[in-house]
């Protein structure tokens, strides 16, 4: 039996071109806004905010 252990819950980005499709994406004006939304989403979704590049973050459920 296989099960999905990790899952991307949301994407936060300051560059709309980099955002993937098919998932909740939060577009931000600045990095500060990105961190703020990331911190909130982390608490709400019970996931961990990981940074992929300077302009792209994902919230992952572990």
């Amino acid at each position: 039996m296989s099960s999905v252990e990790k899952m991307i819950l949301a994407v936060i980005t300051t560059n709309p071109k980099k955002a993937p499709s098919g998932i909740a994406v939060f577009h931000c004006e600045s990095r500060e806004e990105m961190y703020k939304i990331g911190a909130n989403l982390e608490a709400i979704l019970d996931g961990i905010a990981h940074s992929l590049t300077d302009e792209l973050m994902i919230v992952v459920k572990h």
């Binding site: 911190a39 982390e42 996931g47 961990i48 905010a49 940074s51 994902i58």
Partner: protein, 293 residues
Amino acid sequence: MSEYVFPVLFGMIAGIVDRLFMLRTDYRQYPTYLHGKIVHIALGFIASALGAVAVPALIEENITAITFLTIAASQFREVRNMERNTLTRLDEIELVSRGSTYIEGIAIAFESRNYLVIFTAMVTTIVYIAFHIYAAITAAVVCIWISKILMGGGKIKDIVDIEYVDPHFEGEGLYVDDIYIMNIGLPERREEILKYGMGFVLKPKNFNARSTIANLGQRQAILHDVSIALGVYRDSGTPALVPLAKRDLEDGRVGIFILPQNRDIQKAIDVIGNTPTLENAIRMPSERKAHKE
């Protein structure tokens, strides 16, 4: 009164005393106070009664009495199930879980303790009947001593060297020494981790130890023990603040990252060192034939 009353009573008492010696609540807080203990003392009583009564039955040539012991075996296998189920349920609500390897280890220990009680009761009763009470007392003491040795087990400090290292960040990556632990995206989380986090590197002393500490269950057991002993800076809803243990693939060292409430380095090293080496995690690749050739 039957001539076997005193030997059987003495054997039972020796068995119960043995069980009490093996039943101690320590930093792991298990079994919990009183109720958990009563369950195990009661089972210890049954075990010692079975062990002690079997001897006169055999002497009176009731050979079939030996089937008694098979009932005991299935009874105590049930003890293992009981412990496993309870601990697995409780593990779901622990801030830092024990892990199934640790739970299995504890469950096996509880089962085997009852067998040691049967053994003690049996040996003591035989000695009492064959010789006299003083010989039986000596036998009981020896049995309790043997039980203590058998229940001891190894410690992590026997197989690894433990060294403190400050955790640090390279970009978003959290490192303990040069071992990558995880990616932390938020700057405020990174600050918290640098403020509260502690890092340790476990250097395996030999090739066997390398495989043993690679076991995920063994690593989880270390994290659990440290979090119990030193507290943990964590709550539900803060999944980023999680103690982790990662392995260096090059040389088998393990980097331990913890978030204790009590930041005492020496204490943390002692607790890590005193974590039991789990029976189910022990690997001995050097025992393989090809290794010796």
